[in-house]
Every structure is written in structure tokens, then in C-alpha cells.
Symmetry: C2
Subunit: 361 residues, 2 copies
């Protein structure tokens, strides 16, 4: 993440991953979620926080999700059903489960299929927020596979190139692949210029938005650096920003995500169908294509070549997707995760209301 | 494509797809390529020209490819070998075949596997230029499947974000999906700001390059509109252009392409391995996931919603990936393909040298 999205130094409180995980799991269970469901969701959210992807960790997500359990938008006790199945594919009805509960299970199913048949994919419909796509492909990496994930949402956030009506969600996408000695490759991005959650983070950090990040209500890209407008007063742009700068590529990839999740799962277009979201999880067995050892050695060659390459003038180093996240993971695993003090105060107040012990600091 | 890449009106000569195909096939055969190989390569190149993707048609490609047959860089009589196979996957050694010959066969194999098992993927190593990725996924669309293709090259063209040493090729990627009444979705892009071939087209059309499209030799993005620099005096930028505008997303997707083609095929990183390129072709049976009729109806809903949405101020209409290409396909199928007069002159001269009849106009 760019520095402008990070928590300002003066507002940071460091909490160990163990402590925040333990409390997060308790809060999910307080909403009626099963032990496994609470563990899955906690692993996804704290996994994101550990990798420095706090836009998709507990800070923005948890209170929102708990509110959705309270309002019956999410089902804490889902009965997940298989809608269709082939040797390599499964389509699941998530019965209103949050994505972070069903996602790790779905990716596990895709991995099992890939172990048997070379590739596996699981499509999930009738499910809630996935908290980004980055966590799930890493499950495949643990098994020497390439992991991949698309997710679609109800839409209505992101403009098409040349358009003024927001149609897609931020439709994130991720791929991950293992290396031998180098940290794994993990490409995990929103198909918008900026994830919606990151725009919301700026309200807490006070950072400005850069030129070409969002558009006016009439679809015109805003090409100045601005304060974050009020919700409802702007639209998200697909990544690229303007057509001349390649926003048709961002919108096109967002459409691929929409098709592979909302359409392939049978849910229908996010904008015109009444559903909360759907996902696509895929695993590719490296062994089905080539020698795993050779693959990982070649990954090391590639990734090392990037990291050791000469930076552009005025830059310090060159990295690949997942490299900085891995550094952050190691650092935060040791030092704790830096949360904004308001987030910790929320945890304390919310736990106190429920009578749950909270000894974060 | 942006207007600046198109052939200027005064230089256009319209040739029917049949005539240019017939001659192109003859020229491939004159290089020793088999009937099937010549037909495959011709279908790919003229297919691109018909869709208006002339950056990847005969204009730039054919003389280059014929030169490579002459210099023994491409093998006109490849003996294609299966290196590894699983129920859903095959890895092929292309024996130096041009990508446009082996690509249509490889995608056909992926489709057959997807018909049997739900998904299929074919990885190809030791192969030449694929002429973009767009043609192949459309083969899957014909069979009511989702098609997908990555291709990797020898690299050394595209900078990483913050970098000054070009590492990746332009690593294009494509997905296609069928609709019912609407033209199919076809997302087909280079992971650079601009395809290398399009930069070369500007030398013929005289168009300028836009801000953020390429970088100086030290890695600094050029943020002015400029004449196309001489070959060797610039580097390509990943799409997004600058980090602030999301070039890490472009570079990350380029890396995914590199991993799924050059690394997964066993060829090794384009830049550090001595090979011409490798590819990844995948087909997903829609029927394995959901009802095909419902999928296509939902595609119509989505695609119609995009096309009928209100344009941004100062724009005339909103489209999705593949929509304009389909319009162009219909138009060019009727009116002929507009080639630059220099291209037609090359066809005439080259055919004459070989004693091949050429009655294009």
C-alpha cells in the first residue's frame, strides 16, 4: 500500500497477532458463528493485517460484518449446498455465509480436485464479503500449487471507461505461486484505481486522493489531488483511470472478474440481481504441468532478477507483488500489528458491551 | 485501438479477407509450413485484422515471421511432443513451431479436456510468436466455454514499477466468454501501457505517444506527448504507467503471465533463459459450473447494461471489451480490411520475388 493509506505513527497501537486473533474469533462466535467459521474468518482478516493489507483486515471489516450478522444480512449458521459438480469443478450455494468463512473451505476443495485431476475450481454463490482475494491463493501455494481467486460484489461502484453509471464492484483478483528460497509471488489487487476500502481509510488517515483516482458524478475523471469527497459524491474509476492511460484494461479485467464470479456461479450480474456476491477459487497443480522443483528454481531466478534489478532514478529498490507483504508479515509477526487507536477503542468498547474480556493492551 | 494507431484514410487499400487469406496461406507454405500450419497461422492473423487488431495481423507480423523461417529461427515442420499429461492438463514441446500454428491446436486440446472433465489447460514451450492472445479464447466461446490465454516472450522489454531494467515482455493476456444475443466478451490486452507492435505502428501512421506510455532509459516515465523515439532509446512501462497510477497492477499481471507461460511450461524466465516464448491456453466448461442458457442470458443482461449505460460528459457511448472488435469484424467482413498501401506493396513485391501470383487489387 502507498504510505498515504497507512496509520499515522502517533495513532499506532501495536497488538500481537495472537491477541487480536483470539478476540476476533470470540466476537465472530458471539454473533452465532461456528468455531470453524470464526476461525476461518479470523485467519483471513488477521492474515491480511499481518501482510500489511489493513484495508481488508479487522479495522474496516469486523464492525461491518458483525453489524450484518445483527441485521440478518449474513447467516451465522449456513447449510452449504452443492449445486453442481464435475471431476474438477464444484458450484456451492453459500446459504448467506460470509465469504471469509466459506472461502478457505472452497479453496481447500479446489486444491483437493487439483491434486487428483491437475486443476480444480470452486464457484460460490449466495455469499458475503471475501475481504479481498489475497488470502486464498496462498492456501494453494502451501501445497505447491498456483492459486487464483476472483470475487464479484453487488456492483454499482465502478464506472466503465467512458461511462457515468457505476456498474461493477471493485472486483478484486489474485494469483499466487510458490518459489524455492524467495517469498511467494502474490498478486492481489482491486480492478479499480483504488480499493473502496482504501478510500475509506483516508478518512481516518487524512490523506488526499491522487489525480485520476476517482470521477465526478457525471463520469469525468478528477485530475487534481483532492480531499476524499463524501460518500455518494463520487464514482470509482477502473484502474488506468482514463482511456488514454488504459482504463479499458482495468474495466475489462473487472468484467472478467464479474463473469468468473457473479455470472459463472449463476448469481447474475451484481448490479441487476439481488445478491451479496459470489466468488471463484482455482488451484493448478504445478506437478501436472512440469517438475515442481524446477518450477520453484525458475521462480527464484525470476523473482531474484526483479529484486536485484537497478531501480529507476530517484527510487530505492524494485520489488514484485507479494515481496513487501512478506516483509511486513515477518515484521508484524514479531512486533505486532499497528492498529489505529480508534480501532482498538472500538474493540474495547464492543467487547465490554458483550461482556467479553478484552486485554489487548 | 485508439485512432492514432489506425491507418490514415489516404493510405488505406481495402482487401477482402478471402483474398488476403489465400495469399497469406501461400506465403506460409512457401516457407515450408504444412497445409494445416499455414491455415492456422493465417486464420489467427487475418482474424486479428478482421477484428481491427491490425497491430497483430499480417501488417507487422508476416514479413517478420517469414524472415524467421528463412533464418531457421522457426521450424516449418515441427514434431510436437507431449512432455507431461494429466486428465485436465498437457504440456507440449512445440519444437520451434510459430505460436500461431500450434496455438489453435493447443486450445482445441484444452477444449476437449474441458468437455470431458470440466476444465482443461495446455501449456506450450519452445514456440514462437502467438500474434496476441485474442484469437484463441474465441475458439472456446464457439463451444459454449470460457477461454483464456497467457503468453510469455523472451522478455527484456518492460520495466518493473520503480525499475530501470526491462525484464518482462509485453506479456498479453485474454479471456473470452459467450453471450446469447450480444457479441461475445473478449478481453485481450498487453500488460504494458501500449503493445510494442502498436508503438511500431506509429512509425507508419506518424502518431505521437501519450504521456506515461513509455520511460526514459533510466526508468523515469516520460510524462509529455512525444514522437516515437528510436528503437533502443526507450523502455516500455507496465500498464498504469506510474506507481501512483497503478503500474504495480500492470507489472503484477505481466508477472502472472510470465509465471503461467514461461515458468509453468518449464521454459524458464524469458529474460534469463534462451527460448523464444511459451503459452498457456485454458478452457472452462460453463456447463460444469452452471446452466449454459442461464449463463448466456445473464451475460446479455450484463453486457446490455454496459452498452445502454449513460456515457460520461463529452463521450458518445459506453462499450465492453470485444464490442467494438465485433463491429469491426462485421464491417471488415463486408467491406474488406483496410491495409496501409506499403503493406500491400510488400505483399506484391514479396510474392513476385517468389513467383507467386498476387491479385490483391
Amino acid at each position: 500500500m502507498l504510505d498515504r493509506f497507512k496509520v499515522p505513527e502517533k495513532d499506532k497501537i501495536y497488538i500481537s497477532a495472537e491477541k487480536i486473533s483470539e478476540l476476533t474469533e470470540k466476537l465472530f462466535k458471539s454473533a452465532g458463528v461456528s468455531d470453524e467459521g470464526a476461525r476461518n474468518s479470523t485467519n483471513v482478516l488477521i492474515g491480511n493485517d499481518l501482510r500489511g493489507v489493513e484495508s481488508h483486515g479487522v479495522s474496516n471489516g469486523l464492525r461491518l460484518y458483525l453489524g450484518r450478522y445483527s441485521s440478518d444480512s449474513y447467516n451465522p449458521k449456513p447449510v452449504i449446498k452443492v449445486l453442481r459438480e464435475s471431476p474438477t469443478t464444484t458450484t456451492l450455494d453459500g446459504d448467506g455465509a460470509i465469504g471469509t468463512e466459506i472461502g478457505p473451505m472452497a479453496m481447500e476443495m479446489a486444491i483437493e480436485k487439483a491434486e487428483k485431476h491437475g486443476m480444480g475450481a470452486v464457484s460460490v454463490t449466495n455469499t458475503g464479503h471475501l475481504a479481498g482475494c489475497g488470502y486464498y491463493p496462498l492456501q494453494a501455494v502451501e501445497k505447491d500449487m498456483i492459486g487464483h481467486c476472483f470475487t464479484g460484489s453487488p456492483g454499482g461502484q465502478t464506472l466503465p471507461t467512458w461511462g457515468s453509471e457505476p456498474i461493477l464492484g471493485t472486483n478484486p483478483v489474485a494469483w499466487a505461486a510458490p518459489a524455492d528460497k524467495m517469498p511467494p509471488f502474490l498478486f492481489d489487487v482491486a480492478t479499480t484505481q483504488v480499493a473502496a476500502n482504501k478510500i475509506e481509510l483516508t478518512r481516518r488517515t487524512g490523506a488526499k486522493l491522487l489525480p485520476g483516482w476517482i470521477a465526478k458524478k457525471d463520469g469525468t475523471p478528477i485530475l487534481d489531488e483532492i480531499e476524499t469527497p463524501q460518500k455518494g459524491n463520487y464514482h470509482l474509476l477502473p484502474f488506468g483511470g482514463t482511456r488514454e492511460n488504459g482504463s479499458h484494461k482495468g474495466f475489462g479485467l473487472g468484467m472478467v472478474g464479474e463473469i468468473m464470479s457473479n455470472i459463472l456461479s449463476g448469481a447474475g450480474p451484481g448490479l441487476t440481481s439481488n445478491h451479496q456476491g459470489s466468488d471463484f477459487f482455482a488451484a493448478y497443480s504445478i506437478d501436472a504441468f512440469t517438475d515442481v522443483k524446477k518450477f520453484k528454481e525458475n521462480m527464484d531466478l525470476l523473482l531474484n532478477r526483479v529484486v536485484k534489478s537497478k531501480p529507476a532514478t530517484n527510487y530505492e529498490r524494485v520489488v514484485y507483488a507479494g515481496y513487501l507483504e512478506n516483509e511486513e508479515f515477518i515484521k508484524r509477526s514479531k512486533e505486532g500489528i499497528p492498529y489505529h487507536k480508534e480501532v482498538i477503542e472500538w474493540f474495547e468498547n464492543y467487547s465490554s458491551e458483550l461482556g467479553i474480556e478484552c486485554n489487548l493492551r
